[in-house]
């Protein structure tokens, strides 16, 4: 569980940073006539986004999220800045409660599942 959270968090930040570089550096440069940055960063983001999808999906399944929060989590990787906001939201609303539940509750809870 913690490993999945870490993977998701790392990928959320990496993907988010690369996407911001793409949108706020690459695209203006492309408009200005230097398309190289946007092209290569675009491909990098594409690959990172696939990894992000897998990590986010795995975590969403572990947390047993409903379809809507899962979809928000997955699509966040395509909207600039959204990964950071969504990561905070998911942490506060789903990850922290689940981690608390894994350690603080009745004894059987700590042993199995998460």
């Amino acid at each position: 569980m913690r490993a999945a959270v870490l993977r998701y968090r790392v990928m959320a930040y990496v993907t988010g940073v690369v996407l911001m570089v793409l949108c706020f550096v690459g695209i203006p440069l492309q408009v200005a006539g230097y398309p190289a940055v946007a092209h290569y960063v675009g491909v990098v983001h594409g690959i990172l986004y696939i990894i992000y999808l897998l990590c986010a999906w795995q975590l969403a399944r572990m947390l047993r999220l409903a379809a809507k929060p899962t979809l928000i989590m997955l699509l966040a990787g395509t909207v600039p800045i959204m990964t950071f906001i969504v990561e905070r939201w998911v942490t506060r609303r789903f990850i922290n409660p689940a981690l608390d539940g894994g350690s603080g509750q009745a004894q059987p809870a700590a042993r199995v599942v998460r």
């Binding site: 290569y40 491909v43 696939i50 047993r64 979809l71 689940a98 608390d100 603080g104 009745a106 599942v113």
Partner: protein
């Protein structure tokens, strides 16, 4: 694992559907989802095809996207299938409904959490056999989540 003790009865109370379970699939809401699914699936395949032609035309970078779009299309199908499978489980009472849980957590005033916690504690060392532990602990974690949600409910109200 037919009856998981008092916990299950209190947790999952899906509205008893009339007729077979699969009926929900033809509700307007779900039909909308299916439509979105089909459109996005074919849309992504079409984008992949478009990138493929661009790649053939000499745009080397398009090769990456040629493989990426079909991958996303496949992912959409997996997402859709799993969502439907979960929905079947929820409606059969094999799984707590996460949306319902969230809604309940919002509706409950702060005082009510006490009873929810008490139930979790009761369920913990109860007569549950070894094989029920997994489900029980999942349920306990779930209760804890509800509890925590009620506690810091409010701050992120707009974001859900």
């Amino acid at each position: 694992m037919e009856n998981a003790g008092p916990a299950r009865a209190a947790a999952a109370s899906p509205p008893a559907p009339d007729g077979p379970v699969w009926r929900f699939l033809i509700q307007p809401r779900w039909l909308g989802w299916h439509l979105l699914m089909v459109v996005s699936f074919w849309g992504m395949l079409w984008l992949g095809d478009w990138q493929f032609h661009r790649a053939l035309a000499g745009n080397g970078l398009s090769w990456a996207y040629t493989f990426e779009w079909p991958l996303f299309a496949g992912f959409a199908v997996v997402f859709w299938a799993k969502t439907i499978r979960d929905e079947f489980r929820i409606r059969r009472g094999e799984m707590p409904d996460p949306r319902q849980a969230a809604a309940e957590a919002e509706r409950l005033p702060a005082g009510v959490t006490g009873s929810v916690q008490a139930r979790a504690v009761q369920a913990g060392p109860g007569p549950a056999g070894e094989e029920e532990d997994e489900e029980l602990s999942a349920y306990n974690a779930y209760l804890a989540r509800l509890n925590a949600e009620v506690k810091d409910h409010g701050r992120w109200h707009g974001l859900r």
